[in-house]
């Protein structure tokens, strides 16, 4: 018995502050948030009734919320495809061997050092939708290069607008995805490539059967990281357009609901966002836990 305490006592003592703090400030607050989302607290007054899932049904029946989901979907699609494609291309080109690799690496990785808010302010100007005489930003550049036909309303376009919002995000995170892929490439032993070449594999077959399969865990991690960042997007949109209907995503809608004192609605959106992220993250955590166990 005493030996038992000696064994698990000190480690428990060591982690207990973290457990308590996490318990209160993460899980406790998630619980509090969920309980608000199940109440009818639509104003500054205290909640009166437990309303079950009414707020969730009301939200999914709301045109405005569906619009924000559509926007989020568009953004996520372009953001993930963009960062994965560019990240992979750059990593592949660097892996093929270029001179001054260090310079390229820093150039591509550098945008990550800038916050979404700071780059959002710059891109707000670059993505200005005025055309012709009053054009500025990218439209002005197109105009002065004689490429006037390329001018477009950017994020003001009702259907494709969110793709324009994704541009700064792609610019910022492609370098990170590149770094992930590059480490993946570098993690593949040279012997494997040599062996494949000895066996007469063409360059394409080498990539198709030897290298790509080994990159898939890296690709999955990149997808998860970029994907969950995309679902949470808030600061970028606030910096570029502020909270307006046209570029509304669940996170900015949450802010609007909260500042108009509709606590129950804000809590409901927050819970839905948490579920979205969980849907993405939890299977990933299970997968990594399993594969770690398998390796052991």
């Amino acid at each position: 018995m005493r030996k038992g305490i000696r064994n698990w006592g000190p480690p428990l003592l060591l982690v207990s502050p973290t457990v308590v703090i996490l318990g209160i400030f993460v899980y406790g607050l998630i619980g509090a948030n969920v309980s608000v989302s199940l109440s009818d607290r639509h104003s500054l007054q205290p909640a009166e009734n437990f309303v079950g899932l009414d707020n969730y049904f009301a939200l999914f029946a709301e045109e405005r919320f569906l619009h924000s989901l559509y926007n989020l979907g568009m953004f996520t699609l372009f953001f993930i495809v963009g960062t994965m494609v560019f990240g992979f291309l750059w990593a592949w080109m660097l892996d093929k061997g270029v001179s001054a690799e260090g310079v390229f690496r820093s150039v591509y990785l550098f945008p990550m050092a800038i916050s979404f808010v700071a780059s959002g302010v710059v891109w707000r100007w670059l993505l200005n939708s005025a055309e012709g005489d009053r054009a500025s930003g990218l439209n002005r550049i197109f105009e002065s290069l004689g490429l006037g036909f390329l001018q477009n309303p950017w994020w003001s376009d009702p259907t494709w607008g969110m793709a324009a919002i994704a541009l700064p995000a792609i610019w910022q995170l492609s370098g990170y995805v590149m770094a992930l892929f590059l480490s993946g490439f570098r993690g593949i032993p040279e012997e494997l490539r040599e062996a494949a070449r000895m066996d007469g594999a063409s360059e394409w077959k080498l990539y198709r059967h030897v290298i790509f399969p080994q990159l898939s865990p890296v690709a999955l991690s990149a997808l998860i990281i970029v994907g969950h960042m995309s679902l949470k997007v808030f600061d970028l949109i606030m910096a570029i357009t502020k909270a307006i209907y046209q570029t509304e995503v669940p996170a900015t809608y949450l802010w609007v609901a909260l500042t108009s004192n509709d606590y129950a609605k804000a809590a409901t959106i927050a819970t839905i966002l948490l579920l979205f992220v969980a849907v993405l993250i939890v299977p990933y955590l299970i997968y990594t836990a399993r594969s770690e166990k398998a390796e052991r």
Binding site: H42, S43, L44, Q45, R64, H67, R124, N128, S129, A130, E131, G132, D133, R134, P153, W155, S156, P158, I240, T241, K242, I244, Y245, Q246, E248, V256, L258, T259, S260, N261, D262
Partner: protein
Amino acid sequence: MRKPLSLIAGAAVLGLALAGCSTGGGESDPGNADQVEVFTWWASGSEKVGLDALVKVFNEQYPDIEFINASVAGGAGSNAKAALASRLEANDPPDTFQAHAGAELTDYINAGQLQDLSSFYEEQGLTDVFPASLIEQLTVDGAIYSVPSNIHRANVTWVNTAVLEGAGIDPTKAPADIDAWIDDLQKLKDSGVESPLALGTEWTQMQLLENVLIADLGAEGYSGLWTGDTAWDSDGVKTAVDHYGELMKFVNSDFAGLEWDAATQILLDGNAGYNVMGDWAEAAFVQAGQTYGDEYTTWPTPGTDGVFDFLADSFTLPVGAPHEQAAKDWLTTISSAEGQKAFNIAKGSIPARTDATASDYPAYQQTAITSFADDTVVSSLAHGAAASISWSGDISSAVGKFGTDKDAASLVSALVAAADKALG
């Protein structure tokens, strides 16, 4: 031994520094009666200048009371409102806080967070010096919960005289109604002005719509929208929405991303003929060195002549304010003739009191003072006077949607739904 000692010493110094931050100058102390903590979002520009002028008068009138500035910057007040909500939630209210007068206070009133100031109005004789129509707009179920420090007008059309003259339009005479205005806009467009009407982001669109609603429904019909007397699917509203859609054909394509000052700048630069904006825009023209009546002029938005679409910054007395008497002293200062004069000349607005001397103010303000005394006063939607925060939020989103799809029928049905939700 030395290392832990220096660590402890370091921690102690850090602790002291942090303690210094929290108690050093300018912190509200409930035990000290000679303090007043005033919560605003006036942290920069002409608003900060106005607040400073107000504080100067306050210090003269009440030299014993320490003024504690609890302003929260940014986001046109939305950051401040979020900070305020959490303070009220935690039962830690400031002694007085700034809010738009009118319906925006509804949420606080319903939650029982504000004190009734009717007796204060009587003590100070404010019921006599504020116009009766203003008192009426401020009264909620027989009680008044805020004291306005200034009045702004939201139905002002700013006109670039040179642009209009270029198209052969007389800038000094306002078109009689929206239809006549649309004809003038068409003339401007035909003469080569690409976007004759400068427009900005969501709330400025909402302000334009509210101007059109006043023009088409009249003062009484418009005020009825907020009490349920005017139906949101009535023919008048449908006409207004159609008019609004017509006007949207003459606006700059990049409106969705522009703050109001960027939209006004289009007019200043001569790329537009008109801009509908509240009278705080005056400061932009003055800063650009333009003269009223010369390079620019104003008239009430066509069809709204004789109506004063008002909004006001005002101060409240929260329940449980730690320094209640000092807060009342602050309210006395901001409602006094002297306080209103100092503040409004600095901020570019007009005083709520009718006994102000008009000649103290610049040219535009003089016209506004006259109208405020004579016209019918209605409450502005875009600035929290007419509808509660959540109602105007719903309208704002519907207007933003219309900006992209131009679907009049869906705008009307969204407006009806918003009103049904708000009026219950």
